[in-house]
Structures are given as structure tokens and as C-alpha cells.
Symmetry: C2
């Protein structure tokens, strides 16, 4: 059966040809639209569905508002752009309308929006038969021609990732297990429920023009690295012992921390590639922003995972909707 | 209980203050964002939910793709803007993924997009537990400062509407009654399932700068006129005998054609106001594009409906989600 990614590829071939105004259409974290002689606009949308992407028993309306916006902010960051405006569409069943659900949802949204200096400018409120569904659209700006696509990685480039990996997937496991929200467990659960988009570092990377390719880790490192490789026509080699595994996973002695860092989704860290000779420059310029070098881009299309004992071919095992 | 419109008003007061870049935020057909020294961007989003806004037994995937885009194109037209790009997010249950539903949905979307010279640039595909949900976002452009809001109507202005009214609501009634899709009935059903957004006339009106206020008729004339009046701080008087009732309703002897024209939703015609002295100019410039004068803006906040026998106060009785 066609995968979600194959279907999107078909859409792109059929309808997604760029033109004079559409710089990048279907198939990246965000679309890039020529805006003025100095700026391009970047726009991205994400839908979250109750009982597929979230459970109301686990996430509060405020957290859901935060997360919905965070997911799209992460896409804007992955293009190297700075967010400017957002639109929230939400469908809820009648009983939730009668309570404070919507008010709190928008408060969660607005709080994160204020933190990242962007505005809620509109949306749509619909009734649904029984489930909650949310869709967010965020628009941002980037200097003309500086949006970072998935398609520019070159053999020899170093592969970097921001922050720590696997925490959001660990948090989900803890929620599923009914763990108490204390200590390291609470921090992991918060990573799952209220991800922090990498807006600042995304903007800086876009300005620096150092990355050759970038994506946000929404499906999982193995899948998102595969997207960069396939778009760039290259392979990659990453080293398991270099993964910045979430320290709260380690604190809780999670048995499969490496596995969660590799295939767990929704960390919303940025994965990007940098020409080898610019690695030092990158470190100097990012100063305190945490990034970790985890491998390098190779020729050919193969993606390899280097363990201490062996090197194996890495298949994308991240999240799939279908 | 708070109505949908009251809630949106609360959101606007709380989060929707315009700033240097956000010209118009929450509370109009689209948000207006300053883009360059010559252009503003207009963006709008709409969510449609299965069994609330459409039934899969009545609408084909292609028609749904068309309608989802049409609804947002209509908002862009109501701002006097020209559409440029679109984003489609869709959630579908597993069984529909396995068939041609998505392929046909996007074909319907793309066909209408091509007709109006805009591009599909992205979106999101999600799984849902059982219902289909779609959310569309469309971005357009307008000359700087020329976006037409709901808030500029002045006492004495003439009220105009494009095309014919009540047809979409008549089509819905025919679908509910299980009518055969032939002759005038087929045309009414098509108005409901595949509305034609008034992109051309919206663009022309924005360029001419003749309208003082504009909205699209999505909820119904009585409700949408009330939005213009409340945003503009004015009243209105409209004349029942001037309504351009859909000729297919008349052909089928619909007993409540006037009522459908007044309160039926989803016609996606444009309702706009024009200074009295510019009425002739408008007619000359619109040439063959059909518009009908149905009344005038008055002082105070009251909206009146003039029948042959009497004048009565008009309450908004259009569509409400909540």
C-alpha cells in the first residue's frame, strides 16, 4: 500500500511545481513564497486528531493549545525562518463547547505565541460529532533565498542535531504506563505534551546560512534523516554513541534510550547538515545553544548506523500515519 | 450560553490587537498582514467536518476537495484580494486511505485551484478514528491598504449582493429529501456541493476601491449583514422584493425561496456596501458581472426587512455552529 510519504511525493509531482512566486511547494517542512525583494514567506500547517495524536485524558486544553502551535513553529524553525503570524482552526463536540475547553486551548496557544513574538490572526471554530481536531497554520519570514530546504546536503557534510533526543517518546511511554508526574518522569511527560520549538536556533541558522539542509524531528531521527537523504540524493552515517540521549531517560534507566532517540517521534529538535569546514564556525556562532554532531553525509543513498561492534543499514522506523 | 461569534469577539479583544505587521487580525473574513511596500497579504482558514458540514453519502471526494478550497477562496474574495497559494490539511480514517478518496479529493481541489490560478503548496495528512475532517488555508494578495474589511459601511451606503441567493440551502433541502439530481434540482444541489467562489469580482472590487465594507455570505444574508452592521456600527434596511432569489428555486416553486435567500447559508456570494454616489460607477465598471442592490445602510444599529406590507426588525437567523 502507498505510504503517506509516497502519496505526498505523488501530489508534488502532479500539483506541486514551483513557479515565479512559489519558491518551494509541497514536500518540505514549509512552503516558501516570494514576498518582496528582501523577504520570502514560509508557511506550514499541521493537523492533530484526538485519539490518534493526543488523548484528552492525558493532555489539558492549555497543553493542547501549546502543542498545536509548537508543532507548526517547529516547521518554521526547520526552514530557518522566523514566525510572524498563526491561525488556529479547531473542531470540538458540543459538551466541550459548554465548558472552558476552548478558552483554555487559546490561552495555551497565546502564551506560546507571545513567547515567540507572533500573533494569532484568525482561524475557524467548528462543531464535531465527538472528537476534537485541531489544525494550525503558521507563517514566517526569512531573508530572500535563505530558506533552508531538506534537499541541500552534500557528501562530507557533518550532521548535527539540537538538544536531546528520545524524551518525547519516553514521556508517551510513561503516560501509557500511568506513571506519576514527578521528577524526571514529569520532565519527559512535559516534553511529550508541551514541546519547545527551536525557534531561536532555527532563525539563527537561517541567518548564518551555514546549514545545507534542515528538517525538524517530528517523525523520529531515523525517518527524518531519511527525508533529508532522499531529498538531497545522498546517504548518511550516524554514530549511536554520539546520540544526545535525553538525560531524563538515562536518569530513569530507560532500557531503550538509544532506540527512543533513534526512532521516537515528536522531539521537535532540528536535524541539519553543515559543510565540514564550517563546523567550528558553527560552534562559535551558536555559543550556548546546544548542538551535537552525530555523523556525516555520504555518497550513494545508504543510511548506516555505527554501533560499537558493527555498522548496520538503518531503516526509517519513525512515526507513520498510514 | 456564549455564541460562536461572541467567543470570537472575546478572542479578538484578548489576543487580536493589530501591530505594525498585522493590519487586521481576528474577526474578519481574512487576516491582513503587511508584506511589502506595495502589497498586503490576506490569509484565511476554514474547517469542514463530516456529519456536521457534509455527508459522505451526498458529496464525492472530488466535490469535497472543490468545496473545501472554494470556502476559503470566498473569504479571500470577500477581502478584495487575489488568491495565490493554498494549503490542504485532511484527516481520514484508515479504510478511506486504502481507496482513492485522497487522490480524488486533491484532484477536485487542484482543478478549482487551477481555474483560479493558485497553487497547492502544502498541508498535512492525518489519520482519524472514524470521520473525515478537512481544513484549508488560502493566502492572497491585495494592493497595500486596499483590503476591504467588514467595518467600513456608512449610513447612506447602498447594499449590493453578487449572483443569486438561497440556492445552496435549497440544494441541501433537496439532498435531505432524496431528490433526483436532474434539471433545476441538479443545479441547486451543485450550488450546495460545488460552490463557485467570487474570485474575479472580489479582485475587481478590491482594485476599484469602491466598496466600503464586504463579507461573503457563508452563514446566510441575515447573519452576514448583521456582521457588517455590527463591525461598522451602523444599521441597515433591505427590501425583500429586491432579493435575487435563485432562479432554480423559482423554477421548482420552492415555497420558501425568500426565506432561503434571507437565512440560507453557503451561497458564497459577496455582500458589500458602496457610497450612494458611486452606484452608477460600480455598474459601469462591473459590466457583465451580476450584482443586485438590495437596500441601504442606516444610522443606529437596527436591521430592518421591508416587505410589501410592512417593515419588520430582522434578526440574524443564519447558520450557527454553536
Amino acid at each position: 500500500m502507498t505510504s503517506e510519504f509516497e502519496f505526498i511525493d505523488q501530489l508534488r509531482r502532479k500539483f506541486g511545481k514551483p513557479n515565479k512566486r512559489i519558491v518551494t511547494g509541497i514536500g518540505d517542512d514549509g512552503a516558501v513564497i516570494a514576498q518582496s525583494s528582501r523577504k520570502d514567506m514560509v508557511v506550514s500547517a499541521d493537523m492533530l486528531v484526538e485519539d490518534i495524536d493526543f488523548r484528552l485524558g492525558w493532555i489539558s486544553p492549555r497543553e493542547l493549545g501549546h502543542k498545536t502551535l509548537a508543532v507548526s513553529l517547529s516547521d518554521i524553525a526547520a526552514m530557518g525562518a522566523t514566525p510572524l503570524w498563526s491561525i488556529a482552526s479547531i473542531g470540538i463536540p458540543q459538551p466541550l463547547w459548554e465548558g472552558d475547553f476552548l478558552k483554555e486551548f487559546y490561552e495555551g496557544w497565546a502564551k506560546l505565541a507571545a513567547k515567540h513574538h507572533l500573533k494569532l490572526v484568525g482561524g475557524d471554530i467548528s462543531k464535531t460529532p465527538d472528537k476534537v481536531v485541531v489544525d494550525s497554520t503558521v507563517g514566517g519570514e526569512v531573508r530572500k533565498g535563505r530558506a533552508v530546504s531538506r534537499g541541500g546536503a552534500r557528501p562530507g557534510d557533518s550532521i548535527f542535531v539540537t538538544g536531546e533526543l528520545g524524551g518525547a517518546a519516553g514521556g508517551l511511554k510513561l503516560l501509557e504506563a500511568g506513571a506519576e508526574r514527578t521528577g524526571a518522569a514529569a520532565k519527559l511527560i512535559k516534553r511529550h505534551l508541551m514541546p519547545e520549538p527551536r525557534t531561536e536556533i532555527g532563525t539563527v541558522l537561517g541567518e548564518l546560512q551555514i546549514p545545507t539542509a534542515m528538517i525538524d524531528i517530528s517523525d523520529g531521527l531515523s525517518s527524518d534523516l531519511a527525508h533529508i537523504c532522499s531529498e538531497s540524493g545522498v546517504g548518511a552515517r550516524i554514530h549511536k554513541n554520539k546520540f544526545p540521549v535525553d538525560k531524563n531517560l538515562i536518569a530513569l534507566n530507560f532500557p531503550d534510550g538509544d532506540e527512543l532517540a533513534l526512532n521516537g517521534g515528536e522531539d521537535f529538535e532540528l536535524l541539519f547538515t553543515v559543510p565540514r569546514y564550517l563546523r567550528k564556525d558553527l560552534r562559535n556562532k551558536l555559543a550556548k545553544l546546544m548542538v551535537t554532531e552525530i555523523g556525516e553525509i555520504t555518497e550513494g543513498g545508504k543510511i548506516e548506523l555505527v554501533n560499537s561492534e558493527e555498522t548496520q543499514e538503518l531503516k526509517p522506523r519513525g512515526y507513520k500515519h498510514f
